[in-house]
């Protein structure tokens, strides 16, 4: 086959942003007293757009690259060139397969062509008749890194970041040879780390130096003259002066390789199970191929890789991930729906935090670190204030110890955070947020007091998770300046911020809130003032159903593990313990008050709280979990236990019902915002698409509401 045989596929994408393959002949440098080894053809992958438009590998791009490489193979055969190099435009080797193209391949056969096209092109690169070199100058993801892996040799820049094989995260496999070459190059253990552990750990990537250390690249050069040094190095390799050492390389036919291979695959499977409960098929497929390809030829593995890719491209999990990753996290998160014109935003040069408890301390630290403006905490007595400030200072010291902050930055951050027992210190603040006890009358009292102190332009914000922002604003002189600013725990880590617009919140205040969210490196999502907003409402609906099933007599083990097929980050009872039983109960009561029996208040839970039980499960020293007999004695159960399957279906239906209500109530601008909230605020997996694509996929939407939330094709295969 030649790349041109795939023209029929490329023709399906007339609007592809093509990454071109430009070729330049370069006379390789010699050494003192000796001429260079000959002419080297350097291919630059370049879309001629600026750095905000990454280079990607779509069908047209691959056909062009393949055709160019076939030409170079001919030149190599004629003795015109002694080597071929591939590099990229600044900041990118190439970012990876064009996902928007891949997700629009509606037929399995087209997906198979795409997989085969990549292999065809990369096989040419790997068999040019002269050595090939990848000069990894910048980001190389997925198919981008596989171009490098398919080359005979690789150099990498210390300035390069984002080197990864993220396919397992996306719902695919590194199926353009990565899964075959990487274990041979760096060992099966490192290959599992790169192909499984990193993608499933918040899609972690490697730096150039890390890739070099693993053995992915043969040489490491600084960015200032990366290409010049890479070419000099290539000249050395071609002339035989430089022989790269590959300390981590493994001969798969060696006796110990079989053992290492099996152990690495087994470790990978345990990791996948722990992280995802195997709720998405892709990670296991990566390991399946890795397991069998030890004894395969590259061509045999390639055939398996292509079949697997074609299959996975048509899965809901892959489509939902692309929806969640591209459409939501990369696009929608950057342009929040309903946010007013950012030009209306007012500057925030000083922040006040009412309260000096744990949440207040977390907020103060975040504001001081990210905004770098003075932050002042207040509380009712000096001891509490001192404790709050001391907490922030101690956190700064921890960051300093971890080298996340320099000494100067630590000094600056500490100096920014002060405390007072008098709210007069808020007089010149632009933004004051309360983090006091979740009681409406207390919060109203705080805001009333603040209005007597702060300037007319000062924005007042509440971090309430369940109270009505509208009621909080009701008696204010300037209700237009109150906004809900709901963070998630832990504040430093969770990227979501629910920005709550009360009926009278004005546009300038809202615009400031969104700009503030961006400065805090959070994603703001606009939500209406409805009980518990988005994330907590959905989480509590879910926990309420599972708790109800438990109360009805479902064994704890069955109830708590019923949702494993969803691959959520933790089980409901674990989440309940983490949130804290009293907090969860408090929010549940608010929801019960607002929405009635959809949010039942569990009497069992109340008993646990009354008896100061922190968690249902207790882990014994040998690692097994059980509910202590003393806890069980407090509880009473019904006599209608459910199976795990019944609990799962009950939760699916409940979530579909609740989300249906939320959309009817216009809590958010659309289903996409619900998914975005669940991904960023609860860490729900992208292979669920957040939650809505999953509910459509399992039929809950149709069962409960009579229709899907999202049309087929939005976050699922169009035919599905």
């Amino acid at each position: 086959m030649s790349a041109a045989d795939f023209r029929k596929l490329a023709d399906l994408f007339p609007n592809e942003t093509v990454t071109h393959s430009y070729v330049q002949d370069i006379a390789l440098p010699g050494t003192v007293g000796r001429p260079g080894p000959g002419t080297f053809a350097l291919v630059t992958l370049d879309n001629d757009l600026d750095h905000t438009k990454p280079t990607t590998l779509g069908p047209n791009t691959l056909v062009e690259l393949g055709t160019v490489l076939e030409g170079l193979r001919g030149r190599a055969a004629r003795g015109e060139i002694v080597g071929v190099g591939v590099t990229g435009k600044p900041h990118y080797l190439v970012a990876g397969a064009d996902l928007s193209a891949v997700k629009s391949l509606e037929q399995r056969e087209h997906g198979l062509w795409m997989a085969q096209l990549g292999h065809d092109v990369y096989a040419t690169l790997a068999n040019l008749g002269v050595p090939s070199f990848a000069f990894i100058n910048g980001a190389a993801l997925g198919g981008g890194l596989e171009i490098a892996l398919q080359s005979t040799y690789r150099t990498v820049s210390t300035g390069a970041g984002a080197l990864a094989l993220p396919e397992a995260f996306l719902g695919l496999v590194p199926g353009w040879g990565g899964v075959y070459i990487l274990p041979r190059l760096v060992g099966p253990e490192n290959a599992v780390k790169v192909m499984i552990e990193n993608p499933l750990s918040n899609n972690r990537t490697l730096s150039g130096a890390e890739a070099f250390k693993l053995g992915i690249a043969d040489a490491l050069f600084e960015p200032a003259d990366f290409l010049e040094q890479s070419l000099a190095w290539a000249a050395g390799v071609i002339s035989g002066d430089v022989v790269p050492e590959r300390a981590n390389a493994v001969d798969p036919s060696s006796p110990e390789a079989a053992t290492r291979w099996a152990a690495a695959v087994e470790a990978g499977r345990a990791f996948v199970e722990a992280k995802t409960s195997n709720a998405s098929p892709a990670p296991a497929k990566v390991l399946d191929i890795l397991e069998v390809n030890r004894t395969m030829t590259a061509a045999e593995s390639a055939a398996l890789e292509c079949e697997t890719l074609a299959e996975l491209m048509q899965t809901d999990e892959f489509r939902s991930t692309v929806y969640a990753f591209l459409d939501l996290v990369q696009k929608r998160a950057k342009r929040p729906a309903g946010a007013p014109d950012r030009k209306l935003a007012r500057p925030v040069t000083k922040v006040g935090v009412v309260g000096a408890g744990l949440m207040a301390g977390q907020l103060a630290l975040l504001f001081a670190r990210q905004l770098k403006v003075p932050v002042v905490l207040t509380d009712i007595d000096q001891a509490r204030v001192d404790k709050g400030v001391a907490y922030v200072h101690a956190e700064v010291d921890k960051l300093l110890a971890k080298k996340r902050l320099s000494q100067d930055a630590a000094n600056r951050t500490k100096a920014l955070v002060t405390g007072s027992v008098s709210k007069d210190v808020f007089a010149d603040a632009d933004f004051v947020i309360e983090a006091v006890f979740e009681e409406l009358h207390i919060k109203k009292q705080v805001f009333a007091e603040l209005e007597g102190i702060v300037g007319t332009e000062c924005i007042l914000a509440t971090n309430t998770s369940s109270l009505s922002v509208t009621e909080m604003a009701a008696d204010l002189q300037h209700p237009e300046r109150l906004v809900g600013f709901h963070f998630f725990n832990p504040v430093a880590v969770m990227p979501l911020l629910e920005i709550v617009r009360a009926p009278r919140t004005d546009d300038a205040v809202l615009a400031t809130a969104f700009e503030l969210a961006k400065s805090l490196k959070k994603t703001g999502v606009l939500v209406k003032d409805a009980a518990a907003f988005v994330v907590n409402r959905i989480l509590l609906r879910l926990m309420g159903e599972v708790t109800a099933a438990f109360d009805e007599g479902t064994p704890a083990e069955v109830a708590d593990n019923a949702l494993r097929p969803m691959g959520l980050p933790m089980t409901p009872f674990t989440l309940l313990a983490m949130v804290g039983l009293p907090v969860a109960q408090h929010v549940q009561e608010s929801l019960h008050a607002a929405f009635g029996d959809r949010f039942p208040v569990s009497t069992n839970l109340k008993k646990l709280i009354d008896n100061n039980v922190k968690a249902l499960w207790e882990t014994s020293p040998d690692g097994t979990r059980a509910i202590p007999a003393s806890t069980l004695e407090m509880l009473s159960f019904g006599s209608s236990p459910s199976t795990g399957g019944q609990v799962l279906r009950r939760v699916q239906d409940a979530l579909a019902e609740e989300i249906g209500h939320m959309l009817d109530e216009d809590v958010v601008a659309g289903p996409a915002d619900i998914d975005l909230c669940m991904i960023l605020g609860a860490g729900w997996p992208m292979f669920l698409g957040g939650i809505i694509p999953y509910l459509d996929r399992v039929g809950a939407s149709e069962r409960v509401n009579g229709k899907r939330f999202l049309a087929p094709g939005v976050a699922s295969p169009a035919a599905g």
């Binding site: 071109h20 430009y22 070729v23 330049q24 370069i26 006379a27 440098p29 003192v32 350097l42 291919v43 630059t44 370049d46 001629d48 590099t87 435009k89 600044p90 600084e222 200032a224 003259d225 290409l227 010049e228 070419l231 000099a232």
Partner: protein, 425 residues
């Protein structure tokens, strides 16, 4: 160490040596030039890194100063170029730097100024060089000449255009005809082509990767401006852009170019201590002013002054590296000293007419070429690098060849430390 416990060290003047020099290939300025998409500061960074790579015994933290010249110090040549280049080149943050300007003699002035600092004892090792990206910074761009120049007739406005001053020089020296300047230019092209053929130019160039839209990356390792094989007939028909029926053409003048150069200088003690090569020893230098309208004659008084400072005469000079801004200006110098147009001591490897003249970078190119000629010709003891400078100046540096049997400095590789330790006892 002092027994008295107070008072500064006694002042001693130290020998300054040229350790090594390197340059980028020169390009033609403009959209089609090889560096159209390359930043000026990146060009100088390649030179600094090339120097360090070639001199591994020089610890980068031992560099005491980075002086980089550019005529137009804005944009990619702005922001205190010596310091930014040092940071971009990856030198330790403890290494300071500054920017310097004497138009065409920028790099030469970077060398002589820091050499003065070495001689005085302020520095042990320095990097000095220059860059001009004339594609990004046409000569005089952004300048705002004081109107007094015109109103008080301080300088003929025409003197701000270098081509006009070259025509003026023809007026002053009628013996220098267009035929002579063209013949000189043809010879410059021929000499450079021969030097390339003999591998005299390539070793002192650092390759530069450059990317252009629609073409991708390539690496440049030879000069773009040369036009080997240029004949008298080729030059005869060229336009005379500065004066109708004039004499100065694009063929007998240096072009508009992009490029960078840099050199390492050291005290002879530091060179010995660090095991650095000594390619030349600085004997003396001088700058002199002339009428801006005939700036091309500047090398004559500058050379007079430098020779006087050194106690030498023109007859002691065995090699001349003179910048060829214009052929007429070189010939006016040669005529002054009674040197033949084709004297083999002059610009053996050709000059700026062939290789190009990225203004502030050229001074170090002259030094690089003289150093290589010293190495291949130990019979020569002294050589000069000299150039004319816009607004009516000349600059000359006299160098001694360490390969000459009568070399007066510390021979390369021998430590001077033993002598000073003896003196302390």
């Amino acid at each position: 160490m002092s027994q008295h416990g107070s008072g500064a060290s006694p002042r001693t003047v130290r020998d300054v040596v040229f350790v090594d020099g390197i340059r980028t290939p020169f390009g033609r300025a403009g959209e089609k030039g090889i560096y159209a998409g390359t930043r000026a500061d990146d060009l100088i960074v390649k030179c600094i890194r090339g120097l360090l790579r070639r001199n591994p015994s020089l610890p980068s933290e031992r560099i005491d100063e980075v002086a980089i010249a550019a005529t137009t110090q804005t944009g990619d040549q702005g922001l205190t170029l010596g310091r930014t280049a040092a940071l971009l080149a990856g030198l330790p943050r403890t290494v300071p730097g500054f920017a310097i300007d004497r138009m065409c003699a920028g790099a030469m002035t970077a060398v002589t100024t820091t050499a003065g600092g070495i001689g005085f004892g302020a520095y042990d090792v320095v990097v000095a060089g220059g860059v001009e990206h004339m594609g990004h910074h046409p000569m005089g761009s952004g300048a705002d000449p004081n109107p007094r120049f015109m109103s008080e007739r301080l300088v003929d406005p025409a003197a701000l255009n270098m081509g006009n001053t070259a025509e003026n020089l023809h007026d002053r020296f009628p013996a220098i005809t267009k035929e002579r300047t063209d013949a000189y230019a043809v010879a410059s092209q021929d000499k450079l082509a021969a030097a390339y053929r003999d591998g005299k130019i390539q070793p002192d160039m650092v390759p530069v990767a450059a990317r252009k839209p629609g073409e991708g990356w390539t690496v440049h390792s030879k000069d773009e401006p040369p036009r080997p094989g240029t004949s008298m007939a080729d030059l005869a028909g060229l336009r005379t852009p500065f004066r109708a029926h004039g004499r100065v053409t694009a063929g007998n003048a240096a072009g508009l170019n992009d490029g960078a150069t840099a050199a390492v200088l050291a005290s002879s003690d530091a060179a010995a201590e660090l095991g650095l090569p000594v390619k030349m020893r600085l004997v003396s230098y001088a700058y002199a002013g002339v009428e801006p309208e005939v700036m091309g004659i500047g090398p004559v008084p500058a050379t007079e002054k430098a020779l006087k400072n050194a106690g030498l005469t023109i007859d002691d000079i065995g090699l001349f590296e003179i910048n060829e801004a214009f052929a007429v200006q070189v010939l006016s110098f040669l005529d002054h000293y009674g040197i033949a147009d084709d004297d083999p001591r002059v610009n053996r490897y050709g000059g700026a007419i062939a290789v190009g003249h990225p203004l502030a970078s050229s001074g170090v190119r002259l030094m690089i070429q003289l150093a290589r000629q010293f190495e291949e010709d130990p019979s020569v003891r002294y050589g000069i690098t000299t150039m004319c400078v816009g607004l009516g100046m000349g600059g000359t540096v006299i160098w001694e060849n360490p390969h000459h049997p009568d070399y007066s400095g510390t021979p390369s590789g021998e430590s001077a430390a033993t002598v000073s330790e003896g003196a302390m006892a």
